[in-house]
């Protein structure tokens, strides 16, 4: 795939390294000569361009017109939004990923600003901490399709109504699907006859509206 990354800070450089190592064609943009120099000093086969990614000409030069993915990962949310919008509006990039620095800005990282997927480190950290401390409650891991769809995780408490039930017998709404069960560190395929146990980590893919119903089925209480 052809990938353009805007922002050559530690996040952008790490992504460029990993993605070019995985065989993708990567172009990295930054307007700070020091960041560009640091990225160039790495012996990886990605292109580094000095320029302002908030300008159409720079994006054009970086090959955004042919890019399959653009990732706006600068440390500045305003810049990330402008870059995302330009990528979508002016270059029709099929997949635009935006980095949220300040969680207060996350509400803007959606299709209104051309963002297909937003990644917010503070939210992610909160989710991971919640995941570590909570058994028997719902943890949202990832939102997809502009937030219409989400991946959530529940570690089943012994009191969960889903314990000792087979997956096919759970009254899950149609818009929700169990996509994996992690048991004793192994991923178990979620076939209908699988009987859930306490401490199972159940991963559910669902549309946002289905969440309360799913919570009733897997956690048991209505919140």
């Amino acid at each position: 795939m052809r990938i353009v990354i805007a922002g050559a800070g530690s996040v952008g450089r790490y992504m460029a390294r990993q993605l070019s190592r995985a065989g993708h064609t990567v172009d990295l943009i930054d307007n700070d000569p020091r960041a560009v120099a640091r990225a160039e000093s790495q012996s990886f086969p990605f292109q580094v361009l000095l320029g302002d990614a908030c300008e159409v000409e720079t994006l054009e030069k970086a090959g955004v017109r042919e890019a399959d993915v653009l990732a706006a990962v600068t440390g500045d949310d305003e810049d990330n939004l402008v870059i995302s919008l330009l990528a979508k509006q002016e270059f029709g990039v099929p997949r635009v990923v935006g980095r949220v620095n300040n969680p207060d800005n996350e509400w803007m990282f959606n299709d209104m600003w051309g963002v297909d997927v937003s990644v917010s480190t503070p939210h992610l950290l909160t989710a991971l901490v919640e995941e570590a401390v909570s058994v028997g409650s719902f943890v949202r891991l990832l939102s997809l399709e502009h937030g219409h769809c989400q991946l959530a995780e529940v570690t089943l408490a012994p009191t969960s109504p889903a314990v000792e039930q087979s997956i096919s017998s759970l009254p899950l709404p149609r818009e929700a699907s169990i996509v994996a069960v992690v048991r004793d560190g192994h991923v178990v395929a979620p076939h209908g006859e699988l009987v859930l146990k306490a401490d199972d980590e159940v991963l559910v893919l669902m549309i946002a509206e289905a969440e309360p119903a799913v919570e009733v089925v897997l956690v048991g209480r209505t919140s």
């Binding site: 042919e66 509006q89 029709g92 990039v93 959606n110 299709d111 209104m112």
Partner: protein
Amino acid sequence: VSEPNVQPISAADGRSQIRVMGTVVRWRTQPVEALPRLEIVIEDESGRATVVWSGRRRLGGVHLGGRLIVEGVPVASKQGPTFVNPEYSLVASH
């Protein structure tokens, strides 16, 4: 109506600037509490395209059955080509 440089909507499958003309067959706006966004579908003999304007709930002259020329870079999506905030002009009905 013959307009210069207008191409059939079915040609809007690439990542390059294109000018298409079509009739508005769907018109959808957002409720007051949601973020403003206007989404329409235009159609010609060759196909359909979605057009989205963010930050607007309505645009003067853009209504069901109206004809538009839209110019921009389409994004491929499941619903076919989508134009995001393209330039547009209204075509007089005849």
